[in-house]
Amino acid sequence: MTLSDISLFLQQGVLSGLSTGSVYALLAIAIVSVFKTTDVPNFAQGEIFMAGGYIALVLLAAGVSYAAVIPLTLVAVGAITALFQRVVMERVTSSKGVGVQFVIATLGLAYAIKGLVRQTGLGDTPRSLPALVSSDAVPIGDAVLTRLDIAIFVAAVVVMVLIYLMFTYTRIGKAMRAVGMNPRAAQIVGIRLSRIRMLVWAMSGVISAIAALLITPKVLVTPDIAHIAILAYAAAIVGGFTSLPGAVIGGLVIGVVENLVGLFISTNAIVVAPFLAILVTLIVRPQGLLGGKVQVKKV
């Protein structure tokens, strides 16, 4: 491997990594925002994302135009997650559920979605969504990206900016942050906890659907794409698990690391890279990159 090879691999790895990493970052934002406001580590994140891909596929197959498919998919996935929070999680919370119960309830949702998708038989013939952007090559430095890659990255960044604006300037966004900081105090100043939690879940569903719409022109939609959630989890942990900017940085880091591992070590090692990232982060710096100070539990 010559020096110019290394330089080419580095450029290519970083640029493609930023593109896929931006999608991981979106999913990590969905995980972190739900965890911050409801204490629920959402183990169904991957399946919710997958549901987005399948809903879009079914709508397209039914002859709905692309312009209508996008909003319909977002609404449908948002409705599923909002309903899940309203019907299932609200009940689990009120019957004194704690971490283990939350995890198992979301795993229940994961199983149900996976089973429903399999039941429809759509998983048997993997398909991709047609791309809106051509996959013409665009050279950047020595590296080559497709226009699709760039569109994914730009769209993801736009969504992140919108999320940031929502959390910073809108009443709903501020209420969500308040619930994340101190639910009881938020309740006292008149914020309806159940409503905010439902909205956060809906938002996480919409973000997952966006991520699905962005990445599915590039990958085949199969029940297995739910595994992408592992990368999103790795991203959230690297970023600190309670920090939204951390989730973004974590997503980009994981995307780049994944690509560099693939280029420099072997494609076989890509699968295990996120787990090593999770383990190393938790052992070396359990609070993640932007997780704030380590808290001490009081008795």
Binding site: F35, G97, I104, P274, L282
Partner: protein, 326 residues
Amino acid sequence: MKKVTLDHVALLAAFAVLCVLPFVATGYVLYVVNLLMVFVVLALGMHVVIGECGQFALSHTAFYGIGIYTAGLINATWHPPFVVSIIAGGLLSAAIGYLIGFLALRMRDIYLALATFAFGEAMQWVFLNWEGVTGGSNGMRLQPADFFGLKLTNDLQAYPFVIALTALMLWLTVAISRSQFGSALRAVRESDVAATAMGINARAMKQAAFAISGAFAGVAGGMYTLFVSFIHPESLGFQTTILVLTMVVVGGIGSVRGAVAGAIFFGIISELLRQALSLQEIIYGAILMGFMMFKPRGLFADRKRRVARPVPQDGLGGGAMKGSRA
């Protein structure tokens, strides 16, 4: 004289059924019973680390796999009596469990869950890619186990040994649960700070729980090699950990009879629905959500022994997974 409880009656009835079974049941039924026993031991192992010690670990399948491969490889190489290979698998799993226990000293709750989850997935990757030892994605044939010259070639021959091992592990779990050591584990579960203040070595207790849990999973893996002749890493993934976690939680966290009942209940369900995978997943998902909504403490909630927790003040229902990572 000791009081005869429902537990004794249930145990006696189970013993009677298990004695009669080999004379009336078909090979398939015996296979399912053998498999259920493996699940019982797996669930008991997870019960020790999650139920007794309160450490939320999701790496159980890794230890199960280590047990299977260790026992299988030792059996294929030296053909010792199967007891030797099972003990070796259990010990290796216990040793690795002890090492993984170091994670529990640094983190808790969701962070521990995710770190152990990552370890479990990394181990599956090792099983899949260490082709020289595990056969990689081709799987590995398991030689018939040997019992002092007698080859165990079918489910019927393995059955008595599987039952005996299960009984032994069940007795061990109850013994641990009733011992002072068990009380120490539960003290750590309720609050490791308070436990330390009482003079309990919380760090040692956590690592011991991980080691014991690993040993149970390793023995379960060894039991598996007695009646199954093929292992593929595909079956050693997160799914299996979730299945066992479900058994423990739906049965009732912290209760031995809950772990056993959960293992049998879900073992039968997953076997009944094996043919209809999608239906299995839907039903399974519905059961999980339903239980968490209406019976979150499981079928056999351990009410008697559970120490009162402080009532959560934030309206979120407990803080077992919230915040602290130190």
